[in-house]
Amino acid sequence: MNRPLPMDKPQDPASESIQAHFKLSHDSFTLDVDLQLPGKGVSGFFGHSGSGKTSCLRCFAGLEKPQEGYLKVNGEVWQDSQNGLFMPPHKRAIGYVFQEANLFPHLSVLGNLQYGLKRIPSTLRQVPLQQAVELLGIGHLLKRMPDKLSGGERQRVAIARALLCSPKLLLMDEPLAALDPKRKSEVLPYLEQLHGQLQIPVIYVSHSADEIGRLADHLVVLEDGRVQATGPLKQTLVRDDLPFIFEADAEAVVDGHVCDFDQHYRLLSIRLNGSDSVLKLPHSMLENGQPVRVKIKARDVSINLQKAHDSSILNLIPAQVVSIVSLDGQAQVLIHAAVGEEHIVARITRYSFDRLKLLPQQQVWLQIKSVSLLGTA
């Protein structure tokens, strides 16, 4: 069970890569990507819904036929529109895991697993049924029908079914997106295990920065049908920062205590833990000394080098830059700053970042446009 899946023989390094170019437009959407991906490991395709990541994956599978397309996987050309080459999906050595498992309802779990396996010549079969079943922990489900499985079990069967096709490229379209958090945590360990054992390239599409951070080696960020950034994940950014940089609603949660209430303006003052800084926000009165927790969105925080005067913005607090998260090709940069014991994140444009010449340890002023009370801690 722990030996690597014997899926692909080592080839010369030059051919161990995936080259893809797809240009597809229908209605108001255009996908135009040019990619060079490693021939091994997991490439995480990250983007918000509508960014084109699923369309792109469908192009890899041949389920979508782009007007212009070129695809070469570890030395084999699957598609080349200039030479009129288009391999239909069933001729491509792929495994495809759909968002909604997509098991055949008329076949048992075993029948589903064997569906692809039976269609591979036995000399080309590289994953024995038993191994796939063990790897995904579905041995006890083989006789069941798909409608008698939980969402997580269905997805594990779907992954095993795709592996049994002995793919040379495994494509996964948000395999966890349709699952609730509990089911997600039931499947994720299997994916992580696969990641360690698969010798073939995997393209993993997701809008969850957390999944990408846990599973991917190589990162591709898609936005509006175009590649925003691509590179090895570790070099491109620190894993822990992934959720912050991408999620539109990057935010910080900070703790403090109520220290004052202005009756006239109905403003509540909160002193942040471990500092003298005070945040003010419109709120009803709370008792002095009561612990509270507030949420500050990164996009509501801007950075000044000096204390600004005469601003309409209420909250202006000193802070120290801790770290800077910047991703090639992204227009925005995320700054982590410390205020006493608490951390606040600011999202600023790359332009402003370069103009201010920000460095770690630097003292700055944070200008906070909006603060919301999360609840009393």
């Binding site: 599978a61 999906p89 495809y96 909604e100 997509n102 098991l103 055949f104 569906y115 079914r161 096709c165």
Partner: protein, 227 residues
């Protein structure tokens, strides 16, 4: 025995006609239904309307045009004659052809609905699992559309058993050749043989009831299976 030899041969002929027609209709109707379910062509609506015509046309109209087309001066009649098959009007083969036209919508429409309800997802899954289109049709589409095939077969068979107007127009009333049960009932009533008419009519009533009961039961079972 209240049934005469003519009655028995009419029953036998009816069953033969309905069985053969149903088999032919499944063979012809399946590709038409598949095409109607999957195409985006502008021809979809016109073809769908033509297939549905027998639902609204009086059977005599279909019978009249078939009589002309299959007759010695019609295009089909000239073709069959030049092929050495002779003229098909007033023959069992003619009845089969008429029945296929007449019952076509009863087979195509349930199949088309069944194919449409399968959707794209299972077909795409099959394609990513190395199944060609034809392979997918036999290994995924037909099993998933099974309730549709059952409904189509039952309706096609029962509707053919119940036809009268088309038969009379192109088949006439030849015992053992084109005289089916519905026509035989007409003969009995014309000659005031009400007892025999009762037996055949009652039999048809019972048959139709059993068929519809089976159909509705199978639909319920299908819904139970889906939920």
């Amino acid at each position: 025995m209240p049934l005469s030899n003519d009655d028995l041969s009419a029953i036998w002929l009816t069953l033969e006609l309905a069985s053969l027609t149903t088999v032919l209709l499944l063979l012809i109707g399946t590709p038409i239904a598949w095409w109607l379910a999957r195409t985006d062509s502008w021809l979809k609506r016109p073809v769908g309307a033509v297939v549905a015509l027998p639902l609204v046309l009086p059977p005599t109209v279909i019978g009249f045009y078939l009589l002309i087309a299959l007759g010695p001066n019609g295009y089909i009649g000239q073709l069959t004659e030049s092929l050495g098959w002779g003229i098909l009007t007033f023959s069992f083969t003619g009845l089969v052809i008429g029945s296929v036209f007449y019952s076509l919508p009863f087979v195509v429409q349930p199949l088309q609905n069944a194919f449409e309800s399968i959707g794209n997802a299972p077909l795409e899954a099959a394609a990513t699992l190395r199944a060609s289109k034809l392979d997918t049709f036999f290994s995924v589409v037909i099993p998933l559309a099974r309730p549709g095939f059952i409904t189509a077969s039952i309706l096609g068979f029962a509707h053919t058993v119940g036809e009268f107007g088309v038969v009379l127009m192109i088949g006439g009333n030849i015992p053992g050749k084109t005289q089916v049960v519905s026509v035989q009932i007409y003969n009995h009533v014309e000659t005031l043989q009400y007892t025999q008419a009762h037996w055949l009519a009652g039999g048809m009533l019972l048959f139709s009831f059993v068929v519809l009961l089976a159909l509705y039961s199978s639909r319920q079972a299908k819904q139970g299976w889906q939920s």
